[in-house]
């Protein structure tokens, strides 16, 4: 049976507040945790298959061109080599998130430096790697006028948001800011490299892969291979991080599948770290102009945010830099304009919190500049500019904890309010300062299904093809089911990551928990109805707790009610008008304290507080960890992370983890997280929003503002590396 809900109106029932188990929101340990800490959780490349062959992708150091010949014989005689795959179905790029169709084919048409063009398969990894290096590939290169620099090409304009007259508002403003910022490109750099192990039985394909959104990935892979979706099964119970890089299928999954289909044997393909950097989605670099016009009390009369991003020709995705600028602050005169430059770097796509991860911090720096000009405390300035209704669309906010986050975050951090002047504190060579920024991230929900079975022994089984990429899906889906069915987490088994199970939303855009959580919730509502029916009572009179059904003064174990027969429901959640009628988003506030070295310009983050409101908290432990992760990314975003492209030949110069600097242990101080509970009835039937990305949306701005407060250096380029800080450091 199936319970369907298309949510066209807010769900104010708050059913999960009237249930009795008390397991939802609790900071419980991850049920799969023991497997992860003992190295027994099995990731894509680790499934055992007899006589599995190993494939290594061959990439080409050419920015643009067409393959004219591949000399298979150049490697087929090498020890262990079994095949060279040059099939026209090989894909040249990764699929964008939720594409549901084949990404760019054929791979033989090269569009960026390092594009995979063939696959060498051998009996061992070492043999395949060696042969891949020796494969002779002829290419008709067409590099001469292939644009590499986003600032040198004419960009395509996207549809702007225009209200009033921003230019006029700027001239009339008591205080104004007009600043241009740049942010460098980012890599997801998930710790598990992209990997796939494919098996073909002549009719159907089974692929263990490292992917975030199996429902879409199955369609993408089937389309790439000219197979029917039902011929493709994807399995991904554990995914070693995604951050957007595994939203769509990539070349290793298609390559392994084609090789397995051709050879009739299992084939494993794991990208090298360099290949992951060179060929998987990058976050576009951005150039952003932010204009703020304010009256004498610092209230915004004008708000402008324009951004230039880049992507390959033919790619629809454009880093949605302005996403939260649409609704974070007021200002009647508005101009928001995004433009896309077409250049030949690897595909730009989603990297954790696309848009806000680079779009909020620049606005937050501009707000800091405005606060200084207006002589208003930066926290107070933000509080004054929280709009009553969506400033461009004039619709109400569903729920919003921005003011509370700013106030409670300030209190937890020990924010000293009042007028601010840089260089107030020095400890030896180090200037000490603090900064604040708001956090904002759009809310999304996606169609999702989940099956929940109450087994004859009274325990429950939750099944969906949803993934857990470290986000805590195993825990929270178990907790939603446990709460609804009156079971402890120990009595709920959660199975994920297999397309044989009902299709969930997939992990992406912070929508997994609210979308799949709602599907589980709906299935459990159906099961509660069935239990009530079996007992001959109204569902509203039924309570479930600790494995027992309770009504009036009666009590019966769930197993007894089931009487030896399992019952199951499929919950089917679909987004409806509720998220269109309201401005629905997650909000928060960041506070950072930094030390900046007067002589070297080095910045050390000394402590950081984040306060966040994202609807119902489903598991306080995993939610906090998501926030910690986001705040850690803020540190890399602010100080170290930068994709560096060679201006002459277009290759990515820092394509590994030694040269692309993600934060390490010593970069990350004690981080404090304040979770503000709320119920967002419009967001989802479980009143939850997303948290996976919010912690990254704006925090780099708090660090930038802290650098200014510490040493007086206003840095307009991210990351704020020592050379950039030093160049902006005032003499006195």
């Amino acid at each position: 049976m199936s319970v369907h809900c298309k949510q066209d109106a807010p769900d104010e029932r708050n059913v999960l507040d009237s249930t009795k188990q008390g397991v939802l929101g609790e900071p419980l340990e991850r049920p799969e945790g023991l497997l992860k800490v003992t190295g027994t959780a099995t990731y894509a490349a680790e499934f055992d298959a007899e006589s599995c062959l190993e494939g290594v992708l061959v990439t080409l150091p050419v920015v643009r061109g067409t393959i004219t010949s591949i000399d298979r014989e150049s490697v087929l005689q090498m020890p262990g080599v079994v095949a060279v795959i040059t099939d026209e179905r090989l894909t040249g790029r990764a699929a964008q998130g939720m594409a549901g169709e084949a990404p760019f084919q054929p791979a033989q048409q090269v569009c960026y430096w390092g594009q995979p063009v063939a696959l060498v398969v051998a009996e061992s990894f070492e043999e395949a790697r060696d042969a891949a290096k020796h494969l002779s590939v002829e290419c008709n290169a067409d590099e001469g006028d292939a644009p590499l620099d986003p600032d040198t090409v004419e960009a395509e304009q996207r549809k702007p948001t225009k209200n009033g007259d921003l230019a006029h508002a700027m001239t009339q403003a008591a205080h104004s800011v007009d600043a241009t910022f740049t942010t460098d490109g980012h890599a997801s750099a998930a710790m598990e490299p992209h990997a796939a192990m494919a098996q073909w039985d002549g009719q159907s394909l089974t692929v263990h892969a490292s992917l975030q959104m199996l429902k879409f990935n199955r369609a993408e892979l089937a389309d790439s291979l000219n197979l029917k979706e039902k011929q493709v099964r994807l399995i991904a119970p554990y995914v070693g991080g995604g951050f957007g890089s595994k939203l769509g299928i990539s070349q290793e999954t298609v390559g392994a599948s084609l090789a397995a289909m051709k050879l009739g044997k299992p084939v494993r393909v794991v990208m090298s770290r360099q290949q992951v950097f060179q060929t998987i989605m990058r976050r576009s670099e951005t150039t952003q102009r932010v204009r703020l016009a304010a009256d004498s009390e610092g209230r915004l009369t004008g708000f402008g945010h324009e951004a230039r991003v880049s992507n390959l020709p033919g790619e629809e995705f454009a880093e949605p830099v302005l996403q939260s600028s649409q609704f974070l602050y007021g200002g009647d005169n508005r101009l928001l304009q995004l433009e896309v430059a077409r250049i030949h770097r690897m595909t730009a796509g989603s990297v954790r919190a696309p848009g806000e991860a680079v779009g909020v911090q620049t606005v937050e720096q501009a707000m800091d500049m405005l606060a200084e000009k207006a002589g208003i405390d930066p926290v107070e300035l933000r509080l004054r500019n929280i709009p009553e209704r969506h400033p461009a669309k004039d619709k109400p906010y569903s729920s919003r904890k921005l003011a509370e986050c700013l106030r409670e975050g300030a209190s937890a951090f020990g924010w000293k309010d009042g007028p601010r002047k840089p260089r107030h504190t020095r400890e030896g060579e180090w200037w000490i300062g603090s900064g604040v920024a708001s956090a904002a991230r759009i809310h999304a929900v996606v169609e999702a299904k989940a099956r929940v079975t109450l087994r004859p022994d009274g325990t429950a089984l939750v099944e969906t093809d949803m993934t857990d990429i470290g986000t805590g899906t195993y825990a929270i889906l178990g907790q939603v089911a446990g709460e609804m069915l009156g079971l402890s987490l120990d009595d709920v088994e959660v199975r994920l990551g297999d397309t044989d199970m009902p299709p969930g939303s997939g992990s992406g855009g912070s929508f997994g928990a609210s979308s799949c959580g709602s599907a589980v919730f709906l299935a459990c509502e159906g099961l509660r109805d069935t239990l009530a029916e079996k007992l001959g009572i109204e569902a509203s009179d039924l309570s479930l707790k600790d494995g027992f059904a309770l009504w009036e003064n009666e009590k019966k174990s769930i197993a007894e009610v089931l009487d030896g027969k399992a019952i199951e429901e499929i919950g089917h959640f679909e987004p409806g008008k509720s998220t269109e009628d309201y401005a629905v988003a997650s909000f928060g506030a960041f506070f950072a304290e930094v030390a900046v070295n007067h002589w070297t310009g080095e910045t050390r983050v000394r402590r950081m507080t984040g306060a966040f409101g994202f609807g119902r908290v489903l598991n306080a432990r995993t939610a906090r960890s998501q926030c910690l992760g986001g705040m850690t990314w803020c540190i890399g975003n602010a100080l170290t992370e930068s994709l560096l492209f060679d201006p002459t030949d277009g290759h990515l110069a820092n394509c590994d983890l030694a040269e692309y600097h993600v934060p390490v242990h010593r970069d990350v101080p004690d981080l404090e997280v304040v979770l503000l509970e709320e119920r967002d009835a419009a967001a989802s039937p479980i009143q939850a929003k997303g948290v996976g990305e919010l912690g990254l949306c704006g925090g780099a701005g708090a660090i930038a503002n802290a650098i200014y407060d510490a040493c007086g250096a206003r840095v307009f380029a991210y990351p704020m590396t020592p050379d950039r800080v030093l160049a902006a450091m005032p003499d006195k």
């Binding site: 340990e29 945790g33 598990e192 470290g470």
Partner: protein, 166 residues
């Protein structure tokens, strides 16, 4: 002499190109040790060789004739996890779990290095015994990357195991 992995002897591979990491994962069937970069840059492949932590991707298997290797599977199992493994679980010192075996192997060996008096970049007085401060732990764990950003919880887990000294 064969190589001993988690108290079990194994014959070394014929192919001298096989790294210790690939030997563990592909030949010995011990996939708990992870490959994150294959270049000694991320620490996901950290194992203990004769009690000392190394990046197993930077070492050829055939050079470990007679060595005793301990992997994450040798530290503890789901049935009897080690103290450090339990602490990671308790403090949510991981998210996706992929860097986790390396973090745990590294942390286990790192505490012994501090106890043995090895200094680090964070040690103020090179003559004195290093103190188990947060900064010492962070410095010594900086070879183990975690992209999920679980560092704060990992440090908490390590401090928990180190007890009153931390």
């Amino acid at each position: 002499m064969p190589i001993t992995i988690n108290d079990t002897p194994h014959d070394l591979p014929d192919d001298p190109r096989v790294s210790l990491l690939d030997f563990l994962r592909s030949h010995a069937g011990l996939t708990g040790t992870k490959k994150g970069c294959d270049h000694g840059q991320c620490g996901a492949c950290t194992v203990l060789v004769n009690g000392v932590r190394i990046n197993s991707c930077l070492s050829l298997a055939v050079t470990h004739d007679g060595d005793e290797v301990t992997t994450i599977e040798g530290l503890g199992s789901p049935v009897s996890p080690s103290e450090m493994q339990q602490a990671f679980l308790r403090h949510d010192g991981f998210q996706c779990g992929y860097c986790t075996p390396g973090q745990i192997c590294s942390a286990t060996a790192m505490l012994k290095e501090i106890a043995a008096g090895w200094p680090s970049d964070a040690t103020d007085d090179l003559e004195a015994s290093p103190k188990l401060t947060g900064e010492e732990i962070r410095e010594r764990m900086s070879g183990n990357l975690c992209r999920c950003g679980a560092y704060a919880n990992i440090v908490a887990a390590i401090r928990d195991v180190a007890g009153e000294n931390a």
